[in-house]
């Protein structure tokens, strides 16, 4: 990689740290990308707090995409983060405009995975609330499965459970309990 531009190796190192679960890498990226995103948002009528929030969301999306293997580095990392933040900001603005004017505006492309996109945000929110209601240890187990995408063996080691089969069995119970809570919440909303 002797001929690769200097930013490439640094970007690769940051991505590697994200892959290892080092949140500190996100803090570094936040500091580096703060100014351009702030300029973007304030130019568009947003406040500095909006810019901070948008950038944080962009970094969370980066984290998720890197850790789930969906991320492919085809440009500078800063460019990717800026583009993601821009999409998030435009989508937010479009939503606010719709709420204010009732006008239908096609939101820009988001970063959600196709599966997430197929699920309504409100429905996902119900699951999220039900997950909080479910409490521990189910919350942690399900987060380790669906968010961290950890293997059963790894979860067993992290949670001090006997083995992968114990985790599987607990996970099954947790999913059933969560599904029941979601059903209950949805029936209340109907």
């Amino acid at each position: 990689m002797a001929n690769s531009p200097p930013f490439a190796s640094r970007d690769a190192a940051l991505l590697d740290r994200i892959l290892k679960g080092e949140e500190e890498a996100l803090v570094e990226l936040y500091s580096e990308n703060r100014r351009p995103v702030e300029a973007l948002v304030t130019r568009g009528g947003g406040r500095r707090e909006d810019a901070e929030d948008v950038l944080q969301e962009a970094l969370v999306a980066l984290w998720e995409n890197v850790r789930t293997g969906r991320f492919r580095l085809s440009a500078r990392l800063g460019t990717y983060i800026y583009a993601t933040a821009r999409n998030i900001w435009l989508r937010r603005r479009a939503r606010t405009q719709r709420e204010i004017t009732g006008e239908e505006i096609d939101p820009p492309d988001g970063e959600a995975s196709p599966l997430d996109a197929a699920i309504g945000e409100e429905e996902a929110q119900i699951v999220r609330e039900a997950l909080d209601e479910l409490g521990e240890p189910c919350r942690t187990i399900l987060l380790l499965v669906y968010w961290e995408e950890e293997s059963m063996d790894s979860i067993a080691a992290r949670l001090g459970m006997a083995n992968a089969d114990t985790v599987k069995s607990r996970k099954y119970q947790c999913k059933k309990a969560l599904a029941a809570l979601v059903k209950l919440r949805m029936s209340r909303n109907d």
Binding site: V27, A124, V127, L131, G135, Y146, A179
Partner: protein, 331 residues
């Protein structure tokens, strides 16, 4: 297999996670096209995954926000200091002008005023110095103590024996704590842990004499405060200290939702406070443990916002959304 579908649970899960190979995915799609319960099962699984991932994103964002806030704290303190300095200059300047006007026309201003401005050295002259000069001196941005008020800087400017003087950059997180958010951080929060393992004959949980007395109702009012001995793979890591304390469950305040508790020993409420680099976690135990057991207790990270406290033979899983666990590395 699930109850209602012909697709294995694990396959459903991998489908939702997007980790199936192309071939497997196509096969599932083809099957689901002619199987309504399977489509429903896939949708249920996708919904569950989407909701859990949404929670994961929120947890990460919260954790990132905390880190960024910690990063910004000194920067914001300096910004506040700059604003305070500007205000002091403006107010001080105004007072000085008012004072000059009060003293009459320029020709009537006695010489010492000019001397005060250019060379405020002698103590007698200093005592005579108008308030405005003090304010201007106080507003110098190098005096960090001026954040909380104008007086200390005046003092430091004229009292070099003050130990604080000469250390203008010592603006730490502690000094900007009067901010509302910092107050919230200090007050801590309540959480409830789930006991994962608690064998009935666990030697580590045998009641001490004192604990027995407390179980009998004679609760000691003071907290038994002991420094938790944190294991080598603990969450305290290199950056944070971790202090474990215990209190009898009988002293659990109402704000902690005492009445909602299950008194079966399966849940252990705790209060968590983050003070600077130290996380203090107070467990409210039905039966207090011996001093040695508490000393040997360990804390290690489970999930992003979760830790496992091992105390005696008990493993208690806690969610710490307000801090500590979220500040640690995942793997």
């Amino acid at each position: 297999m699930t109850d209602s579908a012909h697709i294995a649970e694990e396959t459903l899960e991998r489908y939702a996670l997007g980790t199936l190979g192309d071939e497997e995915r196509r096969s599932v799609d083809e099957h689901a096209a002619g199987c309504a319960p399977c489509r429903e099962a896939l949708r249920r699984e996708a919904l569950l995954a989407a909701g859990v991932r949404m929670a994961g994103r929120a947890d990460l964002k919260r954790s990132l926000g905390r880190r960024i806030a910690a990063l910004d704290r000194p920067r914001r303190a300096w910004r506040a200091l700059a604003v305070a300095a500007s205000l002091a200059i403006v107010i001080g300047g105004g007072l000085y002008v008012a004072w000059l006007e009060e003293r009459g026309p320029a020709g009537a201003v006695p010489a010492p005023v000019a001397g005060n401005v250019t060379a405020p050295t002698g103590s007698a002259r200093r005592d005579e110095a108008p308030q405005s000069e003090r304010s201007i001196t106080a507003s110098a941005p190098s005096h960090g103590t001026n954040v909380s008020g104008g007086r200390p800087a005046v003092k430091s400017a004229h009292q070099p024996e003050d130990a604080e003087f000469g250390k203008p950059r010592e603006i730490t997180a502690d000094k900007v704590r009067p901010l509302a958010s910092a107050h919230n951080e200090e007050s801590g929060y309540w959480t409830e842990g789930v006991v994962e393992e608690a064998p009935s004959n666990a030697p580590g949980l045998e009641e001490s004499g004192a604990a027995r007395a407390q179980s009998a109702g004679a609760f000691k009012k003071e907290a038994l405060e002991l420094k938790g001995n944190v294991s080598k793979d603990d969450i305290a890591g290199e950056r944070q200290g971790f202090l474990l304390r215990q209190q009898p469950a009988g002293l659990l305040p109402a704000e902690a939702g005492a009445k909602q508790r299950q008194h079966d020993g399966a849940r252990v409420p705790a209060h968590v406070e983050q003070r600077g680099a130290t996380t203090t976690m107070t467990l409210y135990l039905d039966t207090l443990v011996d001093e040695g057991v508490l000393r040997d207790a360990s804390v290690r990270q489970a999930g992003r916002d979760s830790v496992i406290v091992e105390i005696g033979k008990r493993k208690i899983l806690y969610r710490l959304p307000g801090g500590a666990a979220g500040q640690q590395q995942n793997k």
